[in-house]
């Protein structure tokens, strides 16, 4: 295989790894935030939940930042077109995300009930909204988004803000929220004890079972949707723009790869297995394995989406021939080579020291200590 083509596919896979890391690590923290008011009944319980992820949320959040940076570096045209096209949605995502670090650092520094109540609402919004948007964005990618380009690749988005929250996108958004809630609940169950952990387990398994239903509905919906097919294009191994291809919308095309290569059904099946086993394991008080099942659930959901779209990343519903694919939105070979080099060195390093950080902070959160520790969240 040619080097450039190989790099393109590698970076498509790495994009998946990043989106998975983001979904798992940030999603977990978001889930804790969204469930704070649901399973944490007292101030101390809520603080216990926050301290369960307290030493790690800062690091976890970098998956989000790295996700943005890596899309910028590896798929600049996706970064440019998606971030500007989905403008209001991106702003809502951003605004809810930037309130979260402040809620973390500042919540427990002021001991009034009203202040902490405000902070808890911020956690709810900044946990739930980004995950809904994350899922809804994926849902929109599957359907295509109305945009087109000028001769110099200046992009124009021609849809409305509300159309980004269509029924399918909302379904995808709620699925994403449920998976995040499951992961957050599993982490809470791992790190806490007693009634709080019990509530986390029951809420978490409920979220997993809702996710199963939503994922199944989404799959059925996708089968009947219009997909996109590249009918004429430049050799994928060559550098190109979205101005030199033709694309057609074909009903049922989103499942074309599954029909051609049935073994691919393993991927969505992995998602179902992860959700079902995750829900059950949480119920029988095995939160750590349940958490790992959640990772498989995310893998299945994101993988199934990626396979449906391949080789598209962001199809255009208004001018399909200007759809963004892996081939035409990716960086140059030289950039990809350098980025690959950095990733080979640093991604394992990140995984290693992240695991080490979790290892150092292992064990249940000591609720008694929280009140004495002036640094505790």
């Amino acid at each position: 295989m040619e080097l450039y083509l190989g790099l393109k596919i590698l970076w498509w896979l790495l994009l998946g790894v990043l989106l998975l890391g983001l979904a798992v690590m940030v999603g977990m923290d978001m889930g804790v935030g969204a469930l704070l008011r649901v399973i944490g009944k007292t101030d101390l319980e809520r603080r216990t939940m926050l301290n369960a992820i307290g030493p790690h949320w800062d690091g976890n959040q970098v998956w989000f930042i790295l996700g943005g940076g890596a899309i910028f570096a590896a798929f600049p045209l996706i970064y440019a077109t998606a971030f500007s096209g989905l403008y209001v949605v991106m702003l809502l995502l951003l605004w809810s995300m930037i309130m979260r670090p402040l809620a973390f650092e500042y919540r427990s520094k002021i001991p009034t009930a009203r202040w902490r109540n405000i902070a808890d609402w911020v956690f709810l919004i900044s946990g739930a909204l980004p995950m809904i948007i994350y899922g809804a964005a994926m849902g929109n990618m599957l359907q295509g988004v109305p945009f087109h380009f000028d001769w110099d690749l200046r992009s124009y988005y021609t849809g409305s803000f509300i159309s980004l929250f269509n029924p399918f996108a909302i379904l995808a958004g709620v699925l994403s929220l449920m998976l995040a809630a499951f992961m957050g609940a599993a982490m809470t169950a791992i790190k806490t004890e007693g009634a709080l952990a019990a509530r986390a387990r029951s809420v978490g398994s409920l979220a997993a079972f809702i996710a199963v239903a939503l994922f199944a509905m989404g799959g059925a919906w996708v089968a009947s949707m219009h997909g996109f097919v590249l009918t004429h294009s430049v050799d994928p191994a060559l550098a190109q723009t979205p101005l030199t291809q033709t694309v057609e919308r074909v009903s049922g095309a989103l499942l074309a790869h599954y029909r051609a290569l049935p073994i691919l059904w393993i991927v969505p099946a992995l998602g179902f297995i992860g959700m079902v086993l995750g829900g059950l394991l949480l119920r029988v008080n095995k939160p750590a394995i349940a958490w790992w099942m959640g990772v498989f659930a995310w893998m299945g959901v994101l993988g199934a989406t990626a396979i449906s779209l391949f080789p598209f990343l962001m199809p255009s519903s208004s001018v399909p021939s200007q759809s963004l694919t892996i081939w035409n939105s990716i960086s140059s070979q030289h950039t990809l080579l350098w980025m690959t080099g950095f990733s080979v060195v640093f991604v394992p390093l990140i995984l290693w020291y992240t695991s080490w950080a979790f290892y150092v902070m292992r064990g249940k959160v000591d609720a008694g200590k929280i009140e004495k520790d002036p640094h505790a969240y």
């Binding site: 930042i65 890596a70 403008y87 950039t335």
Partner: protein
């Protein structure tokens, strides 16, 4: 069609959010290094006071860090949301340092900061020290990669335009990261952060010395900040000089604006100590000059000629004329990448492509082929940034730097004589100096980025072309959103910072407080005595409902 108002609003939004973000960055850069130094002393000497100092300054760092992270997210998004043409055009080069920053630096910093705060009881002394070092290393490496990215905007190195993909592409990674501008600016900026932290620590310590509280911690902190500060301030001024030297070669228009130099003077040119630039008349209404000083100051020689603004405009008009065919050729290549004649035309005019883009703003129908002589003249005027603003923000920055240097020299003298506390005016001066480094950093940002105009990427991509094609309503909406949120944020941050400083270090060893009492007690202490029962988190709320 590109809308002027949208571009203008995008610029305001970027400046507002970047300046705001940059309020928190320098302190983080410096305090993390300061903490590493403090903890080293703790580990080496084993003195408990240094552990308390480390923990206290870490508490303040964290309040600042939260907003730095939050507002940094905005920056990461903003290129895509508001500057999408820029992102597509140079993302192949500009995105890489941002991604590497995440991979190499920010991930480490953020993971380790959690351990730094919560790991005291779980890590050995040596391990904890390493964690603190990694936080400092991470924050400074972050600055390195961000400034590599910024260096590309100031002086684009290691990139070439690819007419097939219609964008700039990376040609040499080493040229990108070893760009002189990026390297000098990295050192200048991170050391500016050390100065900021030194002033901050000295100011807060002076507050305690004035109030006669936490004297042991305050004295030692003040002394360490003095050493840290005097070295850093000398460093920041030295590197600032290096940046001027580099800028004289790479960005002549910025340098000419910084010095309000309208005419090309015979070397050695005079230095405008103070002047009142008038851009319309292209002259200084008045100026106080020091003869011969400018040339050696900028070029470190006596005989290098520095081009004046009028000459630069005339020269740039020629470049615009030469750039127009490059843009026309690109348009043809866009629909047919195999058009050999167009490619040849493009290659012949490629060095002036950016200048060809410049005239698009004024050309009829924003089509460069229709550009008239008048349009070209107008675009050529644009190649000079706002002289008055740059001249003065630069001077304010330099003046503040020398003010801080004077402060630290005085602090060294008083420290050596062991009489810092004998001069209350000096302690007050120290306290009131806290805003100064922040202001100086902002002025530095303005000098660098206003001076870069009219380009987002110097000589390559005009700012006017770089913005996203949004409606004015969208831009007003987002600007209002940011201003509103950020105002709330800074109020909360200042409140918490002042509160944490007033509370001082945790003296849990000296005055053990019962766990429930500490909450109620601190509410009472902060002056909220007559609170309703509901507003207090009392023990009963900790029981399950």
């Amino acid at each position: 069609m590109i809308n002027d108002t949208v571009v203008e609003l995008s610029r305001w939004q970027f400046a507002a959010t970047a300046l705001y973000h940059f309020l928190f960055v320098p302190l983080t850069l410096g305090l993390t290094v300061f903490l590493a130094a403090l903890e080293t002393v703790y580990v080496v000497t084993g003195k408990q006071i240094y552990k308390e100092m480390t923990q206290f300054w870490a508490k303040l760092l964290l309040i600042n860090f939260a907003l730095g992270v939050a507002t940094g997210l905005t920056m990461e998004f903003e290129f895509g949301t508001n500057w999408s043409f820029y992102s597509g055009f140079v993302g192949d080069i500009f995105g890489a340092p941002l991604a590497v920053e995440g991979l190499m630096a920010f991930f480490m910093e953020s993971t380790m900061i959690g351990l730094m705060i919560f790991g005291w009881d779980r890590l050995s002394r040596g391990q904890h020290l390493i964690v603190t070092y990694l936080v400092a290393l991470g924050s400074n490496l972050s600055a390195l990669w961000i400034l590599v990215a910024n260096g590309f905007m100031q002086d684009p190195q290691g990139a070439v335009f690819n007419p097939i993909t219609m964008r700039m592409e990376l040609e040499s990674f080493s040229a990108l990261i070893f760009s002189h501008d990026a390297q000098a600016k990295f050192v200048h900026t991170s050391i500016a952060g050390y100065v900021t932290a030194a002033i901050f620590v000295a100011g807060v310590s002076a507050f305690y010395l004035l109030k006669k509280r936490h004297l042991e911690l305050a004295r030692r902190s003040f002394r360490m900040a003095t050493i840290f500060g005097v070295l850093s301030t000398i460093g920041v001024i030295t590197l600032g000089d290096a940046l001027g030297f580099i800028g004289a070669h790479a960005q002549p228009a910025k340098i000419a604006a910084m010095e309000a130099m309208w005419e090309t003077e015979k070397a050695p040119a005079p230095f405008n100590l103070a002047a009142w630039p008038n851009q319309d008349k292209q002259e200084n209404s008045w100026a106080i000059q020091i003869p011969y000083l400018l040339t050696p100051l900028l070029t470190h020689t006596m005989d290098t000629e520095l081009p004046g603004i009028k000459n630069l405009i005339a020269h740039n008009a020629e470049r615009i004329k030469n750039g127009i065919p490059a843009v026309e050729a690109l348009k043809k290549l866009s629909s047919n990448p195999n058009d050999a004649a167009a490619l040849a035309q493009f290659k012949a005019h490629e060095p002036d492509l950016g200048y060809g883009f410049l005239v698009q703003r004024y050309a009829p129908n924003q089509d460069v082929s229709q550009a008239t002589e008048a349009n070209i003249a107008q675009a050529a005027q644009d190649t000079i940034p706002d002289v008055f603003a740059i001249y003065w923000v630069f001077r304010i920055m330099v003046a503040l730097a020398f003010l801080m240097l004077a402060f630290f020299i005085l602090a060294v003298i008083y420290s050596l004589r062991n009489e810092v506390e004998k001069h209350p005016w000096f302690l007050k001066f120290s306290l009131w100096l806290i805003p100064v480094p922040f202001l100086a950093c902002e002025m530095g940002w303005l000098t660098a980025e206003l001076g870069r105009q009219p380009w987002t990427v110097y000589n390559l991509l005009p700012t006017w072309m770089s913005a996203s094609s949004h409606s004015v309503q969208y831009m007003v909406f987002s600007l209002i959103g940011f201003v509103g949120l950020y105002t709330i944020f800074i109020l909360i941050e200042m409140y918490l910072m002042v509160r944490a400083i007033k509370q001082g270090p945790d003296q849990h060893d000296a005055h053990p407080t019962p766990s429930s009492g500490s909450l109620g007690g601190s509410v009472l202490a902060s002056g909220a005595a007559p609170v309703h029962a509901k507003a207090l988190i009392v023990d009963s709320t900790n029981k399950e409902v």
